[in-house]
């Protein structure tokens, strides 16, 4: 079985919602569609207050290069375009839509049959990804049309599909593979065609034997799709680590995967690609895991984007357990604690993780004993303890010289630290300071 060479940890997996089939989340009364749900510049609204919209109608357009189109996830009337606070309470622009019925655009194919043939040329596929507002659903929400336009002079050799789902608790990719294997494989074939690569590799951690079996069987029907079981090790699903696991190549510091001939895509994205290209359905829904050790039931939901976290919790659990300590969007390692449950979900959302008070509390911090565990754990080969000291003493240039910007913020150092030092926090602060310093120098 393949794995990456350097570092890594093994947190408790806690995949307790694997057997919960994907349910349809009922429509909320109102949705708030944020204008920056992707990496890059926010999209520009092209509708006004009072306009009637249908499901899948373009409501905000990508005008900058690094940007993605946004479509209405519901049908109804535009209530207002106003400030909306996101999950961490920071104000963003959003389009509020009052839901009325569920009227879809006529162009969208809503039949359940699977459509396999595609006559589009590679360039047309990329153009359609742009039109449909597809972004990477692995967490970074990188606009797909940019990822699949290989720059001049570079060549893609490998298409790697990330189905490692190495984050504890999350099971949305697991369920998607179990229920939509065929569609996913068609999506992968489309991406393979867009890039013109001979083979696509699906990396799945070996703690998911069922999806590995299902995907292997389905992949047999397709040309050039290879399923690669991977060692269970966090962060197996991080882009650079996955490339190393599958191809043995290493992405140099400051370079992109395409520089070593790789393009990595999340499995959730491939399903969205299938729906966009074959069914004309823009990215208006995603699959969210609602899970937590102390919850009475575990769920995987297909939700319209823009529904608030409170709506999801109300439907799934009624109300939060009294002992709730934290609600997290994402997994325990890299997820963000939600401080504002009235915030809407975005394209990149993957879970609502409810953690118990005792489980979520940080352990008390003590002094560094130079044990070096963080160095062993770092999958990027960095020295987290050193960054901690450098950042604390404001020695930002030195931190930069030690490649602090290579940190992928996976949290392995913090996880492994016996002194419970918030190393990842300190490194993130350091990265911000380095970026500020670089901006000031320009």
């Amino acid at each position: 079985m393949k794995t990456f060479k350097m570092g890594g940890v093994h947190p408790e997996e806690n995949k307790i919602s694997t057997n919960a089939a994907i349910e349809q989340m009922p429509l909320p009364k109102q949705v708030a569609v944020l204008m920056n749900q992707h990496l890059g510049a926010p999209a520009t609204p092209i509708i006004a207050k009072g306009d009637k919209v249908k499901v899948g109608q373009l409501i905000a357009e990508a005008q900058a290069f690094m940007c993605a189109n946004i479509h209405s996830p519901v049908s109804g009337t535009v209530n207002k375009i106003d400030v909306c606070k996101d999950i961490v309470g920071l104000p963003k622009t959003a389009i509020y839509i009052d839901v009325e019925g569920d009227e879809w655009m006529e162009t969208i194919d809503r039949t359940p049959d699977i459509k396999r043939e595609c006559t589009l040329e590679p360039k047309e596929i990329v153009a359609k990804l742009k039109e449909m507002g597809i972004v990477g659903l692995g967490g970074a929400t990188f606009p797909a049309h940019i990822k699949y336009s290989v720059p001049e002079g570079k060549k893609a050799e490998y298409l790697i599909i990330n189905a490692a789902e190495c984050e504890p608790y999350l099971t949305s990719d697991h369920r998607a593979m179990m229920e939509h294997a065929e569609e996913i494989c068609i999506g992968i074939s489309l991406l393979r065609k867009a890039l013109g690569v001979p083979n696509a590799y699906i990396g799945i951690e070996s703690n998911k034997p069922e999806p590995i079996r299902v995907m292997t069987e389905t992949a047999k029907k397709f040309e050039g799709i290879i399923v690669e079981p991977l060692v269970v090790k966090y962060p197996q699903g991080a882009e650079k680590q996955l490339i190393n696991s599958i191809t043995g190549r290493k992405v140099p510091s400051g370079k992109l995967p395409i520089d070593v001939g790789c393009v990595v895509s999340n499995i959730g994205t491939t399903f969205a690609v299938y729906e966009a290209i074959q069914k004309n359905k823009p990215l208006i829904e995603n699959i969210l895991t609602v899970t937590g050790k102390k919850l009475p039931s575990q769920h995987n939901y297909q939700c319209r984007i823009g529904i608030t976290y409170n709506d999801i919790i109300r439907h799934a659990l009624g109300e939060l357990p009294a002992t709730t300590g934290k609600v997290i969007s994402g997994g325990t390692m890299m997820g963000k604690a939600i401080s504002n449950l009235d915030a809407p979900t975005t394209k990149g959302a993957s879970s609502v993780l409810v953690m118990d008070e005792a489980e979520s509390r940080r352990r008390p911090e003590s002094n560094c004993i130079r044990c070096g565990k963080c160095i062993n754990a770092c999958p990027m080969g960095l020295e987290p303890y050193l960054f901690s000291a450098l950042v604390k003493n404001n020695r930002i240039e030195e931190a930069q010289a030690h490649n602090i910007l290579d940190c992928i913020e996976c949290g392995c150092c913090f996880f492994s630290c016996p002194a419970n030092k918030p190393l990842t926090d300190e490194i993130r602060l350091g990265k911000n300071k380095v970026r500020a310093m670089m901006a000031a120098k320009k």
């Binding site: 400030v83 606070k85 961490v88 309470g89 920071l90 104000p91 963000k336 604690a337 401080s339 504002n340 509390r361 940080r362 918030p422 926090d425 300190e426 993130r428 602060l429 911000n432 300071k433």
Partner: protein
């Protein structure tokens, strides 16, 4: 035996002393002794408030320039300026004494915590990850970067309010805290006669309702103060009032007018009871103390 050792070592010592003497003569660096004298007079805290790398660098700048134009040691104030002027033989450059003012009133009581932050205790980091415990994106995060930055022990975090507190006597207005605050809450303002100051203790630029949601003492941008001010010192921009300290005459009319108690008047004697009000009923608004946020909680729910 001992004698030989003493003689040999003594001789070596003398030879080196002679060599060192000539080397020192040859490579002597001529420095104006005035630099040392001025550096002696400067506070020596190396706070960087003057914009130079430290007090020594400032002393060099003084001597190089020969006068005090454009060079000002905020930490030393008038006293140091006079001494430096005496040494340089020029007229002292004296500017109005300034003081750091915390423009946030999001105390634990006013801006109630809606979540608990347990991450790295650093304001700059907390500011990069989320809005703050009260939900106010403009308010104090209470993790004390300003207090850590202060070289003079003039800033401390008040455990009761969760806000930084400035000791007027110790503050030298060097500006270190202003730079340290990621939210720009601290401002250097004129110290004022008898330390009396009137300022808007809020930086929230949200619309009134949104601002009040996170903090009951927030400026809601209603503009009452702007209309009341007889000197045109108050401007409301982006839902936030700002008092220009160069125009403010400390009349305190705006303080009484502010519906949320966002305008603070400090170090004033208590206001005399208002001109006998016709209604003899509730005496509630009359004894407005120096800080008047207590007037607000009624509207909390």
């Amino acid at each position: 035996m001992i004698l030989t050792a003493v003689l040999v070592l003594g001789l070596i010592g003398i030879i080196f002393a002679i060599v060192l003497y000539f080397v020192a003569q040859k490579f002597k660096v001529l420095e104006d002794p005035l630099i040392d004298e001025i550096a002696e007079v400067l506070p020596g805290a190396n706070c960087g408030g003057c914009g130079k790398a430290g007090c020594r660098a400032m002393a060099e700048a003084f001597v190089k320039q020969g006068n005090m134009d454009g060079l000002h040691c905020p930490a030393g104030g008038e006293e140091v300026a006079k001494k430096v002027a005496a040494l340089l033989g020029c007229t002292p450059e004296i500017s109005d004494p300034m003081v750091a003012v915390v423009r946030c009133n999001g105390s634990c009581a006013n801006a109630v915590s809606k979540n608990n932050y347990d991450g790295l205790a650093d304001c700059a980091f907390a500011n990069s990850v989320y809005a703050g415990e009260s939900g106010c994106v403009f308010g104090c995060l209470g993790l004390g970067n300003c207090a850590k930055a202060c070289q003079f022990g003039a800033l401390s975090m008040d455990p009761e309010t969760g806000l930084p507190k400035v000791d007027d006597d110790k503050c030298t207005a060097c500006g270190a805290c202003v730079k340290a605050c990621p939210r720009g809450i601290i401002e250097l303002r004129k110290k004022g006669v008898k330390n009396r100051r009137v300022y808007v203790a809020c930086r929230n630029k949200e619309k009134g309702a949104a601002a009040r949601k996170s903090c009951i003492a927030a400026c809601i941008g209603c503009g009452k103060c702007e209309k009341t001010c007889p000197f045109g010192a108050i401007k409301v921009e982006n839902n936030l009032a700002y008092i220009d300290f160069n125009l403010c005459r400390l009349c305190r009319k705006c303080v009484a007018e502010c519906p949320t108690g966002a305008i603070h008047a400090v170090n004033f004697p208590p206001l005399p009871p208002k001109k006998e009000t016709p209604a003899t009923g509730t005496p509630a608004p009359a004894p407005a103390p120096a800080k008047a946020p207590e007037a607000a909680p009624a509207q909390a729910n």
